[in-house]
């Protein structure tokens, strides 16, 4: 069952990233010629109080002959509420609020709830999501080696887990965007499975 814990951890990581991706910036786009660094990105994300976006996700799983595709909506409400609602092919809602992750797969109120603080590596990870959303770079770098490449018009954030427990689940996480927009989150799991999520922002405040 340690497996389950690990699974859960990567699940949360994935959720967090989707939700991170759904955040955006309200500041004016910086000059494309100016070098875009991590602190600048953090400071931009800090401005977001709420956001809504659509997503399409392709999952390349070693168990399946062909990739699976899902799509739906992402919601973020500062400071600690995040939701990923899948609409196609099956309805599902993942919600993170404070220290709880809730997963619903039907409308009858049958929910699975997990406490994030009770799983050290997940807890650490959730803190790092919040740190990202809060633009708290020191906390983020406590868990990940954070590097950025490209410029403001086309940047790619690379997160490499520092902790062993996290490394067992996730190989790396790449977040790409242009200016203030997050357009893509790509997660590569330790077992080779890969997920690529494309995001279209709709409403940012």
């Amino acid at each position: 069952m340690r497996r389950l814990t690990r699974c859960l951890a990567s699940l949360v990581i994935a959720v967090a990233l989707w939700l991170c991706a759904s955040t955006n910036v309200t500041q004016a786009a910086p000059d494309a010629a100016v070098r875009w660094d991590v602190p600048q990105l953090m400071s931009a994300l800090r401005q977001v109080k709420s956001a809504t976006a659509r997503f399409v996700e392709r999952k390349h799983l070693h168990m399946m002959d062909k990739p699976l595709e899902v799509s739906g909506t992402l919601l973020y409400l500062a400071p600690d509420q995040l939701q990923k609602i899948t609409i196609w092919p099956n309805w599902e809602r993942l919600a993170v609020k404070q220290n709880l992750l809730t997963i619903e797969q039907d409308h009858e109120g049958n929910a699975r709830t997990f406490s994030l603080t009770d799983h050290a590596e997940i807890g650490a990870f959730v803190e790092s999501i919040r740190a990202t959303l809060a633009g708290d770079l020191p906390t983020l770098t406590r868990f990940y080696a954070v590097t950025i490449e490209g410029d403001a018009a086309d940047w790619r954030l690379l997160l490499l887990p520092k902790e062993r427990k996290l490394q067992d689940l996730v190989k790396d996480i790449r977040i790409g965007g242009t200016g203030n927009n997050i357009l893509m989150v790509e997660t590569e799991e330790a077992d080779g499975d890969r997920s690529v999520m494309s995001i279209v922002e709709e409403d940012i405040r």
């Binding site: 699974c7 699940l11 899948t86 599902e92 797969q105 109120g109 009770d118």
Partner: protein, 790 residues
């Protein structure tokens, strides 16, 4: 006469020796369940058993606080490691993962036997296609990572079914792999003792181990000096209650003895009289203990504590004798004069205490028998032995000072009567408008456990997510297998009710160990390896799953159908413990306990279980049972007090043969009962059943003073000596009961405070209502105590 005296002496010595012999072999008990009823309903039996010996009674909750959380976590780990080496403790759990991994491994290996979803239909082509469809949904969902690793071995999702059953049993909050309270201020630990909850010596030993482990862990840890340990749980309460009881019995009797001896010495000014005066008390106490020991087979610690009141009351008889004997007259003459009144007084007291004899509380019945025996022996010693032992002419010196108060009151009686009437009316009005009922409605109010400790217990229970179970189903059967089969059936029923959302979940023994029947049925539901392979091949058609992905599933299913049956010994320690708390042997029967969680529709669940109409299956609402228990106590206490009061009234009527005389004795008593009730409740506090019994004892004890006052009034003589003797006797009684009101044990405290107040009021109300029309004090006080009479 001399011959009779010698006979009395001989009887006394023989009786004393017999008492001593009985007491030497007496067992003192402090088990609080003596204060639970003797013939409870099945539901109450569950309650009582849980309190006495259930696994719940063996759990000690620990919290470490007062240091930074890193230090607390380290302390918790060190302490747990030390405690795990102790054979007196069955389990030590502080959240460290080790135990849970073994549990999960066990559940995984035995999933085809443990999952209630394993039925033949699940492994047909149709059943497998349904499962694969669900799997595909899962893989495309956020739960993908949750199922991905297990999928090749478990496409039908048996592990998930098993885990979902446990979903409501949220483990406590964890920090640094150790259980913590939500605010991280306390590290938490749960310890299960080998000793049962009622084995107080065993519990005490376990607590000592725990405290030692904590001390050593703290010494070994730098920066941990400020940390301290909190303990709670039934065993902790039992140990503390016993200590409090012993301390109270010793301390309070010592204080009462010193106070009463002081008062008597100041009145008698003679050590010899003091010793003689205490003789009836001593004999009464010895006889009381011996009688209880013979009648019940043991003496409760609380009964010994109650002995203090006997001292205050039985000393009265000697006081009447000594103080009312004027210099120059014979004690025997005094006795002959006061005997009818004294006898009636003793009879009313005995009638009052007799009511307690019929209580369903073993504890109350003991208090009753103890007091009755004590009083009768004390008055007998006073009547037949003291005159023999009393040196000729030895009487108490003048103690006018004691009589001053009541005499003043009696002189003003005419003016005080309207005031008394107004006072009683006011008290009565106050009672009528008392807000929200007189009676305490929580059983915990009868508990000897201080409120502070009860609250700490609640807090820690919330922290570890082990709230008190309120509803459970109990199945009793002739064998372990029968009990497990009942549990199988109940689980099936409860699962369907859970789906209907009548409750959110439950725990049951068959979850850890299904009955042999259920195990056989589940194994039989798995097709042969070839058949399953064929079904799967057909079912996989059209899905995108990689070929041969499910090879581990075919292997595991084949292994499961060949595996030996699961038995109790196969369970890992932690689950075995869990099973032990839900399935156990009691008095030759096997009991399966099914605690229910998140009850939305208790009524409907109860009805559905009743419809099962299965012998030995009971739905229990523990809160309801404990409330009913309290109501039973209250009704019983009220009934006993009423009957006791009526018997006393009957006795008075029979003896006094005059309604006006009965009125003069009973009215002050009624007034003091009403006043005491008003005093006890005027600030919004509520009455316990112990207060109620105390009210009866006011009548039983207070009647003595009123009887003497009434006799005086009838004789038209106001003797300062008599009044002084009444005050002295009353003072000793008030001291006896008053000292008891400092006890931490509710039964002693409540009775003490009620009777002390009521007895004092009875004296003054008796004086006011029985004052002679004209004051004609007799001059019967003498100065000389050694004055041989001619």
């Amino acid at each position: 006469m001399r011959k009779a005296n010698r006979a009395a002496l001989a009887v006394w010595v023989a009786a004393l020796l017999a008492c001593a012999a009985v007491i030497a072999r007496t067992e003192i008990s402090t088990d609080m369940s003596a204060f639970l009823p003797r013939s409870p309903s099945p539901g109450q039996q569950v309650l009582v058993d849980q309190v006495r010996e259930g696994v719940v009674s063996r759990i000690v909750l620990l919290a470490i606080e007062g240091a930074p959380s890193d230090v607390l976590a380290a302390l918790s780990r060190d302490m747990a490691a030390r405690l795990r080496r102790e054979p007196a403790l069955v389990a030590v759990n502080n959240g460290e993962e080790a135990a849970l991994d073994a549990d999960r491994d066990f559940l995984w290996r035995n999933r085809y036997v443990l999952s209630p979803a394993v039925v033949p239909a699940r492994f047909t082509v149709v059943g497998l296609r349904d499962a694969l469809q669900r799997d595909q949904v899962m893989l495309s969902s956020g739960l993908a990572v949750l199922v991905k690793r297990a999928l090749p071995s478990d496409p039908t999702g048996e592990m998930l079914t098993i885990i979902d059953q446990f979903a409501g049993d949220a483990p406590p909050h964890t920090r640094s792999d150790v259980w913590f309270s939500q605010d991280d201020s306390r590290a938490l630990m749960m310890v299960q003792t080998r000793a049962a909850g009622f084995d107080i010596d065993g519990q005490q030993q376990a607590l000592r181990l725990i405290e030692d482990a904590f001390r050593h862990a703290r010494q070994a840890m730098p920066g941990a000096e400020t940390a301290h340990l909190l303990e709670t749980g039934p065993g902790v309460f039992a140990v503390r209650t016993r200590a409090a009881m012993q301390e109270d019995a010793e301390r309070l009797s010592l204080i009462a003895t010193i106070l009463i001896a002081g008062v008597l010495l100041s009145a008698y000014r003679s050590l010899r009289l003091l010793m003689l005066g205490l003789l009836p008390v001593l004999c009464g106490a010895l006889a009381g203990i011996a009688a209880v020991s013979l009648g019940f087979g043991f003496v409760h610690g609380i009964t010994l504590g109650f002995g203090v009141t006997l001292m205050g009351e039985s000393v009265d008889y000697a006081i009447y004798l000594f103080t009312q004997t004027a210099p120059g007259s014979q004690p025997a003459d005094t006795l002959a004069r006061i005997w009818p009144t004294l006898r009636l007084g003793v009879l009313t007291s005995v009638a009052g205490f007799s009511a307690m004899l019929f209580s369903t509380f073993t504890g109350f019945a003991q208090l009753g028998l103890f007091s009755i025996t004590g009083l009768i022996v004390a008055v007998a010693v006073t009547r037949w032995l003291l005159p023999t032992l009393l040196p000729r002419g030895l009487t108490a010196i003048e103690s006018r000072i004691f009589a001053l108060g009541p005499l003043a009151v009696m002189r003003q009686a005419r003016r005080l009567r309207p005031a008394l009437l107004a006072w009683v009316l006011a008290a009565g009005t106050l009672l009528c408008f008392h807000h929200g009922g007189f009676w305490q409605e929580e059983l915990s109010s009868l508990s000897p456990i201080p409120m502070r400790d009860q609250e700490l217990d609640k807090k820690l229970r919330r922290d570890v997510g082990a709230p008190d179970v309120r509803y459970l189903v109990v199945a009793t059967a002739a064998s372990e297998q029968r009990a497990l089969e009942a549990s199988d059936r109940l689980s099936g029923l409860l699962r369907s009710m859970t789906e209907e959302k009548w409750l959110s979940g439950f725990d049951a023994p068959d979850r850890y160990l299904p009955s042999e029947k259920a195990q056989l049925a589940r194994r039989a539901a798995l097709p042969s390896e070839e058949l399953l392979r064929a079904h799967l091949r057909e079912a996989l058609d059209g899905f995108g799953f990689r070929a041969e992905l499910f090879a581990p599933f075919l292997a595991d299913a084949a292994a499961a159908s060949r595996a030996p049956p699961l038995v109790r010994a196969s369970l890992p320690p932690h689950l075995s413990l869990k099973l032990g708390s839900l399935l156990f042997e009691r008095h030759g029967d096997w009991v399966a306990m099914v605690p229910l969680r998140g009850m939305g529709e208790p009524r409907r669940v109860a009805d559905r279980i009743a419809e099962l109409n299965e012998r030995g299956v009971v739905f229990v609402d523990l809160k309801g049972e404990s409330d009913r228990l309290l109501q039973t106590y209250q009704r019983e206490a009220a009934l006993l007090s009423l009957v006791g009061g009526l018997v006393i009234l009957g006795l008075l009527t029979l003896s006094l043969r005059s309604m006006s005389r009965v009125f003069l004795v009973a009215a002050p008593l009624a007034a003091s009962v009403v006043s005491t009730m008003a005093l006890l409740t005027f600030d919004g506090r509520k009455l316990s059943i112990f207060h109620l019994v105390g009210l009866l004892l006011i009548v039983a004890v207070g009647s003595n003073y009123c009887l003497f006052f009434e006799r005086q009034r009838r004789e038209g003589v106001q003797s300062e000596r008599t009044v002084a003797s009444l005050v002295l006797a009353n003072l000793c009684t008030v001291i006896g009961f008053g000292v008891l009101s400092f006890s931490r044990i509710p039964v002693l405290h409540d009775i003490g405070v009620t009777v002390a107040a009521g007895a004092l009021l009875s004296l003054f109300f008796g004086a006011i209502l029985n004052a002679p029309r004209e004051t004609r004090p007799s001059q019967d006080f003498g100065r000389i105590s050694h004055n041989p009479t001619p």
